[in-house]
């Protein structure tokens, strides 16, 4: 059971504090903050103890979400609950930040009051909670149709009752690892892991059944193949417990009665055998130039289809220790590159990278006391990027239907996006 729950800003300001059992004093907040700031990197910071009181915390949106307990509960439960609390707060307030939590403190207390009683979790379902939550959410940013991340789901006053969009987003997290050799043109893919999910963000006031059609040729597992066209395949998938799967086997249709708010309808995973090539290929060359200078020449090719674009591509290349300065030759003015001596790395950023294009960059890094062994320190290169309108598995939403059809206006948006999680290329 949970003794207290509190939310702290990264600077240690008390944003929310609720004591459920009266076992501990409010000082425990300060105790926690002192402990968490005194941590060095190698200690496991998720669970900490002080005089028989255990603190379990999660970091979300730059805030500390902390539960304290005197018993020995399941860590999975507490951590998933804290994550759920953060997700609900985000659903209600539109975004997770110190400001939005401060502005909506009454609402968050109300949420906590309904979710936990005497330290026991009562409910976290939005369907039930929305009956009890009376406070109107205050949106910390003006409403914009283009920035959906900022829309409060239930309360936000900016939202008009007529507009009832529902969004399904397929969001695979791309995490792949390529291995490349200096001399060869093609690298060998060592490990690729795709974690994807279909999320629904639903604003419909009344609950009606929604039918989501996926690619008909979708196959699950290694052996099963459907049709003769190039199959869309995932290794494993898991569904939200409310999803009805009676038409899934034959027609690949998910039926769900979505409740208001954001929900994950389906999660899937694909390992190793990707249907398409990894989105980026890197052709690096690292040479010793003069006595104290390393020449790093990077040629980066984007293997996406020509119509797609990768956004916010940033490439981190580790450089030898003691690098002092760098000169660069980039192919276009919107790119930037800088040397970060603290992280022993150079950072190359490309805001837009169209598919099929090839960019190159030349970096000359000055390293006093350079030895040939120092070249070993260059690499592995890691990248982060976002691919809008793109799924790596090829999974698509064929259709999104509401039944019975709504008389009023209902808008449907489908958004695909791929985020890199850890994309590493060895040199």
């Amino acid at each position: 059971m949970i003794s207290q729950i509190f939310i702290l800003s990264s600077k240690g300001d008390h944003l929310i504090y609720k004591d459920f059992r009266g076992e501990e004093s409010k000082d425990s907040i300060n105790v926690f903050y002192e402990m968490v700031t005194a941590l060095s990197g190698d200690q496991p910071p998720v669970v900490m103890s002080h005089k028989g009181l255990h603190f379990i915390h999660a970091r979300q949106g730059g805030l500390y979400w902390v539960a304290s307990t005197k018993t020995n509960p399941s860590p999975f439960t507490i951590i998933e609950f804290l994550n759920r609390l953060a997700a609900l707060t985000k659903d209600y307030c539109g975004s997770l930040s110190e400001k939005s939590v401060r502005m909506n403190f009454a609402l968050i207390y109300e949420l906590l009051d309904e979710m936990v009683d005497f330290g026991y979790i009562q409910t976290t379902s939005t369907d039930i909670l929305k009956n009890f939550i009376q406070t109107e959410a205050v949106s910390s940013k003006p409403f914009s149709l283009f920035d959906l991340s900022n829309v409060g789901l239930f309360g936000a006053e900016t939202q008009q009752s007529k507009v009832a969009p529902s969004v399904a987003a397929s969001r695979p997290i791309m995490s792949s690892r390529g291995e490349q050799y200096n001399s060869k043109n093609h690298g060998v893919l060592m490990k690729a892991d795709i974690h994807g999910e279909i999320k629904i963000k639903c604003f419909l006031p009344s609950c009606s059944e929604m039918r989501i059609g996926l690619n008909e040729e979708l196959s699950i597992g290694k052996s099963q193949l459907k049709g003769y066209s190039s199959a869309v395949r995932v290794d494993e998938c898991r569904f939200h417990q409310a999803v009805k799967l009676d038409e899934f086997d034959t027609f690949r249709i998910l039926k769900v009665c979505p409740s208001q708010g954001e929900q994950t309808v389906m999660q899937y995973q694909l390992c190793d055998e990707l249907p398409c090539a990894p989105p980026f290929q890197l052709f690096p060359s690292v040479e010793k130039d003069y006595v104290n200078r390393v020449l790093i020449f990077l040629k980066l090719r984007c293997d996406l289809p020509p119509k797609s674009t990768a956004l916010n591509v940033s490439i981190t290349v580790p450089v030898p220790k003691g690098s002092t300065s760098m000169s660069q030759e980039l192919s276009s003015p919107d790119q930037t590159a800088e040397l970060q001596p603290k992280n022993k790395a150079l950072l190359w950023e490309i805001p837009r990278f169209p598919g099929g294009a090839q960019l190159s960059a030349l970096f000359k890094v000055d390293v006093p006391g350079l030895s040939s062994a120092s070249l070993l320190e260059v690499g592995p290169v890691s990248m982060s990027f976002e691919l809008p309108k793109q799924t790596c598995t090829g999974l698509q939403i064929r259709f999104l239907r509401l039944s019975p059809t709504q008389t009023g206006l209902s808008q449907r948006w489908v958004r695909y996006v791929t985020h890199s999680d850890s994309y590493t290329i060895r040199i």
Binding site: G22, G41, F76, S374
Partner: protein, 695 residues
Amino acid sequence: MTQGLDVSALFMDMVKASAKVDIVQKKLVYLYMCTYASDKPDLALLAINTFRKDCADPNPMVRGLALRNMCNFRMPGMTEYIEQPIVAGLRDKASYVRRVAVLGCAKMHSLQPNTEIDGIIVNELYALLRDPDPVVVVNCLRALEEILKDEGGVVINKPIAHHLLNRMKDLDSWAQSEVLTFLLRYHPRSDDELFDVLSLLHAFLQSAHAHVAVATLRLFLHLASAHPAVQADALLCTSAPLLATCGAASRELRFTGLCHVQQVMRSQPGLFGTHYKCFFCGYSEPTYIKFRKMEILVELVNDENVALVLEELRSYCTDVSPELAQAAIAAIGRIARTYSEKCLDILTGLLALKQDHITSAVIQTFRDLVWFCPQSTAAVCQTVEACVDSPQDSEGKQTLLWLLGEHGEQISSAPYVMEGYIDGLKTELSSAVKMELLTTAVKTFLCRPAETQDMLGRLLHYCIEEESDVCVRDRALLYYRLLQRGVEETRKVVTGPKSDPSMSVLTGRQEEPISQWASTFNTLGLLSGRDLCLQTAVISAADQPSNSTGKELLPDVTLSSPNDTEEEISLSLGPPLSHETFEKMWLDLEILHRQTLGSPRPRTAPDTLQAALQLVKIQTLAFTPGDTVLWKAYIYTRSTGTLILAELLQGDPQAPGSDESLVVSVKQQPVNQHAIRGFASILKSVLQTLNVDSS
């Protein structure tokens, strides 16, 4: 209020505001009142009328709200006001109110923990286990658990267990995992019933919620403790959800998953073998996750994946964070115990980077490797010989010296490297390095006397005549006297037979039975690392054979003091505490006991004091040298499940009159007054004996 300001002065106005109808305002007023009720009990009583009125409101939401908040008032004398509304609430037609009322019973009990248990309420709660609302059912379990805590908690008999099992599907995930924990208490009568239970629960092993899957697994491991095949099957089923948590978006969840994977691997090392790539580190992951992943990777290495795993670990060795790089090098060293050749190549390559922290870590890895698998000695020696630059930190220096001393005959340059250290002795700060240097010099002298004799002489001369550190001086004197007895005598002592740890590598790590860890599975203890471990170490510390070095020095210390009528308590040393842990615990704990021992500090050498204390199983951690005015010593010991920490202090300026006498301050975890008294009397008698001896 939420930002820590005290606004309790407004209480009166708030009481008035609580009569408002607006529900948002009501909620905020209730929140305010619950916070300050314990400060202003008399004013809070004024509000009770409003609450009681709200408890009869036609709107169930208002009824529930009022009842819940009224029960949250933590002040004496509240029970008489809340009892009647709670009993009414238990029979309310709205499930929302029943949920609140059920937990209200638990709150009422916690307000008056010493009163007799109300049999009527308990019976009513047991009856409500059949309630149609699932949350009411689970709340009943929780409330009964608290009310009946002294009698061992809620009773799960066969009808209740079966009822709960049948209701499992209706519960939400939080309730499911909680019910699964309650079911741990139920023991099916026959194997048939057991298998019925297990097949009912089988679907939950693969629940989309990790906490449900893990709670089910725990129940499986517990119930099927007599059926290893079932346990193995359950572990196999849960491996997919567990692996999924290891890749979860939330870092905290990922860490929890990794810790549990590690625990499962203690019994089933092969379970995750094919998924080793899941444990490759992502570059954006925090260090604590990377550490866990590396630990797991080391365990998962086999003939097929060793090349890939090593290549992955190799790329971490040049990480920005020195701790991470060193951990990666140590991980390669662990793998080297089985696959020495490949690992040695990588480690040798790393030496070429010439970075202090890497060189030092590699050499430390070499030391462990030579110790654990002697067959790699030749290769290591070759590498060490070729390695030109030497480590700069004291840990690395010690290790290099140890290698030189142990295998001096195989490293041709050993005397010359050592000579460099001896020449730089004056600037060396660490006494540990000096001690190691002494040992190395003597060992090398034994195998290569011609090259070493001169420098050994210089070294001993410096250490005996000029060195200020007592320990180094004593060590040098010891070796000097030993050498005076003759070379053969010295050889017998210094290079005596060693234990052979390489045997343990050959036999491999034993697979632990599942029962060994099943009880801590899915609990916090697994995650919190040191602190909880420490507590368990205190409890499990068996009486270890005491270090007997002190026996010859002080054969006639008597343990029992004449007026000690109490039952004898036994102290034990247990596993040693590190300075950091001691300091942390010392700062955390309160002083439980302070006493003047009535005798001054014994005027004996520090060694004698230490040995004498060790004889009665009290370990000395640190003391101030010689004749400092404010003489202090920190000592610790264990006794029947508790850890006792103590400070001895002489000449405390705050306690006048105690100039001569020692004052002892004791801290303890967990508290056991009897042990403290025993400890104090033992300490007193030791000090008295010592004083008699020295005078």
